[in-house]
Symmetry: C2
Subunit: 422 residues, 2 copies
């Protein structure tokens, strides 16, 4: 298996590189990115996906908000897609000045076909033929990230994590050896290196682990892109644009003995709230009704727990939502309350998730035991717990979240034993 | 003829409106433009062509110059075309908020096909079918000016005057009743109203007159757009975006008795230089060599004059060039000098053209006589003269140009007899 994969890497002549907004924030940075691309393009055909420069998208969103309180989504996509178009043009100008045969392509020119859903379209199909044709005359194709096109020729955007998703989808379409995600951090760490002293760079993690981390706030890569990579078995690498000599973190299906470890990291997500519907008479379909009402307003819920009080014959449903969605969630539940005959709706806005991520956690009882006792010993109250094969999450008070993460990180000996990762 | 034209206006359900960069410079101005469009769209299907907001194009060009001294032209088009895309999206957001069924379209989406020549492509064909399809579900289509697309799907731009040209070409494609060019002036005047007191608004002029004016510096409309309008007999109207109640100036084939006048205006172009190659031995092909050498460097020459000195058996060739091209012109001629055996190359950087524009000027000897004597009486030295059916141009010193224009404007009684046009 290992041999076959290496062979495949050698055989594939294509490499996909993705550069985020901070990597192309200024012309000087674009020149730096061009140097990286030039270096790689001497041996391979390179497909580079770029985001909009720095704060361009924020600027365009602000402009749209000035024009309309709730900007029409089709027109918003028409507007936002210009950000990436600016980046690809500038990057190709620089590459051509360096003597690299480069060509910029919009999503429409590539043929990155999406659903007809604006501001958060999903990719349906990619016209890889046009890419291969492009490579006949160019060594480097620079493709606008974040955007797509419908079969009717309307411009769409892919929503959050869009450029990562573009890169992975293109890598799958041309069967690239690797998809390197260049960003402003060194790779994926056992925890946030800015907050947890001694957080260690992971040279290799599995899709599953990185998915759990991403969902829990360690957003180096958008979960959507990771899921797509897993689905199409695209090997990802997270690297630092400003330290291109570093190897970063490789993300693949994992499973090799040598990289197996129980615990891969600790993640913190501070902007959480918990909401509970108390004492709903036990009847079928309650959780479904609650979930549907929230889904109708596009509110994502997490850590849903339902407990049954046999003596009272009633249920309570508790879940967490993001800070930004709390007010609307309460409004929706207040409406549902009488319909469901619930006793009360309670909200706790002071929640943070601290999660331990790894493989097969629940099969090793010492892990939850050490986790909970570490927090308990240090007087950190656990408000909620949920667990899966790959993570155990404790909800704690926000002001204790970072301390909790540091304690857990230490307790599980995740610290770099050598010098700290720079 | 008049009856038929009016009938056609009534019958055509389409109207094309073009708004320049100053008209969409801010969100507030875009809202104002949307109001104008809304008003017109209650009776007709409206196709609005818009330029980039204010100084967006200049900003993008600056960005390109930072990226590359001589930016690749294909990539420059990729970059510059984003300016108009931003405008169309914002304008449609505002229109939709006003309840107008509007939709933005890029040149690619419309199918405005051009040559594969970047930064100054000419329009080859327009897919009017897509426009008519668009009007099935929308009352207003907002199309990005200045841009086009090649048959291979590459983005092009049309160069100077591009958005005017887009508007006229679209008007021809859908057989619109009228193409209104909204700008920041009231219309076309007998001379520059900011400089010549009493300059009068012309309610109607012919394509030919406006072409002569435009070439001479009175650039309300780009000559290219006017030529296209003449070719396809598209009736133009120049109007002030900020005074939409004013009727502006109508431009058409003219020829009706009631609007015929000898003199339609005085134009000034101050940034001119004259260059002379002195005493070239008389031999065939000299003017051709000079013109070719300048054309190779894309330098436009004007007012070419060749005079023969029979006694010396030699020619001198004199012409005017724009200020910006003077240095390079002198360099080119210095190289040619020995090849042509010329005695000397002389340049006069202090030139301005003052031109009288009208119809059949040379058939009426009193016109050149009054023109030259007016300047002579007022001690304004005429350096060069050239004339055609529709204009007589005098080159004078730059510091006397405005005075000369004012004197000529007065002498030919072009002043508004009523109150000055505001």
């Amino acid at each position: 298996m290992l041999i076959w994969r290496d062979l495949k890497s050698v055989m594939s002549e294509f490499q996909v590189l993705k550069f985020g907004g901070t990597s192309v924030k200024t012309i000087a940075r674009i020149q730096h990115v061009a140097e990286i691309i030039k270096g790689i393009s001497s041996g391979k055909k390179v497909l580079a996906v770029v985001s909009a420069m720095g704060d361009t998208t924020d600027f365009l969103v602000k402009l749209a908000k000035q024009a309309s309180e709730v900007p029409d989504r089709r027109e918003l996509d028409m507007l936002l897609s210009t950000g990436e178009q600016i980046s690809i043009a500038l990057l190709c100008m620089v590459l051509k000045d360096m003597g690299v045969a480069a060509k910029s392509l919009t999503a429409n020119q590539v043929g990155i076909f999406t659903e007809t859903v604006h501001t958060r379209a999903r990719i349906l199909d990619i016209n890889s033929k046009r890419l291969f044709q492009g490579f006949e005359s160019s060594d480097v194709l620079v493709v606008a990230g974040f955007q797509g096109v419908t079969v009717d020729g309307d411009i769409t955007t892919l929503g959050r994590g869009g450029s990562d998703t573009t890169a992975v989808a293109l890598a799958a379409a041309i069967n690239a050896a690797e998809c390197d995600i260049y960003t402003d951090v060194d790779g994926i760490f056992t925890s946030d290196p800015n907050k947890i002293p001694g957080a260690r760079l992971l040279p290799r993690v599995s899709y599953g682990e990185v998915l759990e981390m991403a969902r829990l706030g360690a957003q180096v890569l958008h979960p959507r892109a990771v899921e797509l990579a897993r689905q199409y078995n695209v090997k990802l690498r997270v690297r630092n644009t400003f330290k291109p000599e570093h190897q970063g973190t490789t993300i693949d299906a994992g499973g090799d003995m040598e990289i197996f470890r129980s615990i891969s990291g600790v993640a913190v997500d501070e902007d959480q709230c918990s909401v509970a519907i108390m004492d709903v008479p036990d009847q079928p379909g309650i959780a479904g009704k609650v979930a549907q009402a929230l889904a109708d307003q596009n509110i994502a819920v997490d850590m849903i727990m339902q407990s049954f009080h046999p003596t009272a014959g009633s249920n309570s449903i508790t879940f967490t939502v993001h800070d930004a969605d709390l007010d609307q969630t309460i409004k929706i539940l207040a409406k549902l309350k009488s319909e469901l005959n619930a006793r009360d709706v309670l909200a706790d806005p002071d929640c943070a998730k601290v999660s331990l991520i790894g493989a097969g956690l629940c099969g090793q009882p010492w892990i939850p035991a050490l986790l909970f006792s570490t927090l308990g010993k240090n007087k950190i109250n656990i408000k909620m717990i949920s667990s899966s094969e790959m993570k155990i999450t404790c909800v704690v008070s926000r002001k204790q979240a970072q301390e909790a993460a540091r304690l857990v990180h230490d307790a599980f000996e995740l610290k770099d034993s050598a010098k700290p990762a720079s």
